[in-house]
């Protein structure tokens, strides 16, 4: 029976990959003919590629790519060493699998003009996504540059959720769950916020004239992944004996390395989201750095006051929380607001991790919800408070700048995202659990996932 399950899960996983590749192969041929015969491209208004903008977006894409391995080290250092490779592997496989998913159909689902709810399938295999700019998203860089920049966001978002179920999820189940989650949760929500005609890009249907401000993905990336983290942590259950014996991180230096790579990559994430090498990018760069610094310092001080010593883990947790919170606001707020957002995110996340988590009793192993969920939520709401047209005329004013409606829009956008992520994540988890079984056996959990899921060990004792 056990063997059957294993085979099932493999066939399931391979099936999905095969489907993606076959769909791709068929469409690739169509693309070739379509490109040759399509006269529409010539009739469209001429947009010029700006070399500076293109260079910056390509560099930013590479920076954001580095965040996923960075996250791997950040998370990897926090788990026991018997599960270290498993966490690294989950991140690296997401980088591989979702990059494939993205070019085959993910980008099309998110960004192809479609309905309010989801993009279309016309851009599968990047059909029609060429080297000319696409005015609706970016007038000065090749469409494919925008696509590959977005690919890195699609990769890191599901990777964030790993923190919630680390140390106890079967690898096959993880792979299938992640592909489904990216397709049915990330892709639609990205379309709502960023896609042409997306649900949250024009909120007039709710009687709120305007649009949800989300500069670099506070709602799409962090609230979305944070809620998915909470759901998975709640259903998968606690790690064995976690209440009796707290688990110390196996290598905090690795986590510091990972957090540093995240901080570094985040400049691409936020400043790159300007999609131009201009003043707006510089503003995003500066406030991103400022908020991270303020949050890191604040968390260290809170630790010092409450636990008697400033801790390394607290400091890097603060830095990451600060980066999360400033993400939606980076293109709309100034330096003073960035400081406030940074200081307060550490207060909120510290409270969530130290008081809320023990009280509610879920085992979010590496605080994916505590930092990305809570931090992302605060960032999205703070954008509705602190946004200012002085910083970005294309944005909107927030509550503190005389436009209370923007705050309501932010609240509504968060609630919509939370409800959707909550329900669909739950459904996807239950499906995968029924077909494959999500959790490893008690014995596998005890021996460790490196050896039982990957036949490898991170460290040797004897040469």
């Amino acid at each position: 029976m056990k063997l059957n399950f294993k085979i099932n899960s493999r066939i399931f996983g391979f099936g999905i990959l095969l489907f993606m590749l076959m769909a791709g192969a068929v469409l690739a041929e169509e693309t070739a003919t379509a490109l040759a015969a399509d006269p529409v491209a010539a009739a469209a208004p001429v947009l010029t590629v700006d070399t500076g903008d293109t260079a910056w977006v390509l560099i930013s894409s590479a920076l954001v790519m580095l965040m996923t391995p960075g996250l791997a080290f950040f998370y990897g250092g926090l788990v026991r060493r018997k599960n270290y490779l498993n966490v690294l592997m989950q991140c690296m496989v997401i980088l591989a699998a979702l990059s494939v998913q993205w070019v085959v159909f993910g980008y099309s689902l998110s960004f192809c003009p479609g309905s309010k709810w989801i993009g279309g399938l016309d851009w599968m295999m990047l059909k029609g996504v060429g080297l000319e700019p696409y005015g609706d998203y970016s007038a000065t860089i090749p469409h494919q540059a925008f696509m590959i920049f977005q690919a890195m966001f699609a990769v890191i978002t599901p990777a964030l959720i790993i923190g919630a179920f680390a140390e106890r999820m079967k690898f096959s189940a993880f792979l299938v769950f992640t592909l489904l989650w990216a397709t049915f949760v990330y892709d639609p929500v990205a379309h709502w916020v960023w896609g042409v005609g997306g649900l949250l890009r024009d909120m007039s249907w709710m009687g709120l004239p305007g649009f949800a401000l989300d500069f670099a993905g506070g709602t799409v990336v962090h609230v979305n992944a944070g809620i998915a983290a909470l759901v998975t942590a709640l259903i998968i259950g606690k790690r064995k004996n976690i209440d009796k014996y707290p688990i110390p991180p196996h290598s905090l230096p690795f986590s510091v390395l990972g957090a540093s790579l995240l901080w570094f990559g985040w400049f691409g994430f936020n400043a790159g989201s300007a999609l131009s090498a201009n003043g707006l990018a510089v503003n995003a760069f500066v406030v991103t750095h400022t908020a991270a610094a303020a949050a890191a310092l604040t968390w260290a001080l809170i630790d010092w006051r409450i636990h008697g010593a400033p801790t390394m883990l607290g400091t890097i947790s603060g830095a990451v929380a600060g980066l999360v919170a400033i993400t939606p606001a980076a293109g709309f707020v100034g330096i003073g607001s960035a400081l406030i957002i940074g200081v307060l995110v550490s207060v909120f996340c510290f409270a969530a991790v130290s008081y809320l988590k023990p009280k509610l009793g879920y085992d979010d192993s590496l605080d994916a919800f505590g930092i990305h969920g809570i931090g992302g939520l605060w960032g999205a709401l703070a954008t509705g408070l602190f946004a200012s047209k002085v910083i970005n005329p294309a944005g909107a004013d927030g509550l503190f700048f005389g436009n209370p409606k923007q705050f309501l829009i932010q609240v509504a956008a968060c609630l919509i995202t939370i409800s959707y992520a909550l329900i669909v994540t739950w459904i996807l988890y239950k499906i995968v659990d029924a077909v494959i079984g999500v959790r490893v056996t008690e014995k596998e959990e005890a021996i460790g996932l490196d050896l039982t899921q990957h036949n490898e060990n991170a460290y040797t004792i004897l040469e």
């Binding site: 018997k82 009796k244 050896l451 036949n455 004897l462």
Partner: protein, 113 residues
């Protein structure tokens, strides 16, 4: 005086310590060791190269006790370490010839506690 050596599963260490504290055995030396009994370990594969019969991580406890503590110590270790699966480990009991506390120079029964 006896020397009790126990080889246990790494993930049972905390449970064993807890049981030992309950019977007031607070002094122990813990080391990380490699070994396998009937289990033969789990095969590891590196770039297709398979290493079979790998050694598994185990924890070794060294505990010196006076006669009256021998049975309680053994019971506590068993209670904490047992999962019922192959690989739970072993306990060895050896006669201990002498024991000296470095700081005071005390020897024998006095030095152990």
């Amino acid at each position: 005086m006896k020397m009790i050596i126990a080889i246990i599963q790494p993930h049972r260490l905390e449970a064993v310590k807890e049981e030992l504290y309950k019977v007031e055995v607070n002094l122990m030396t813990v080391s990380e060791v490699l070994g396998h009994g009937r289990q033969k370990g789990i095969a590891e594969v590196y770039r297709g190269f398979k290493e079979t019969g790998n050694l598994l991580r185990k924890i070794r406890l060294d505990i010196a006790v006076n006669e009256s503590f021998v049975q309680p110590t053994i019971d506590a270790i068993r209670k904490g370490a047992k999962t019922g699966e192959v690989g739970d480990g072993k306990i060895f009991v050896l006669d201990l010839a002498e024991c000296v506390r470095i700081r005071t120079g005390e020897t024998g029964v006095l030095a152990i506690g």
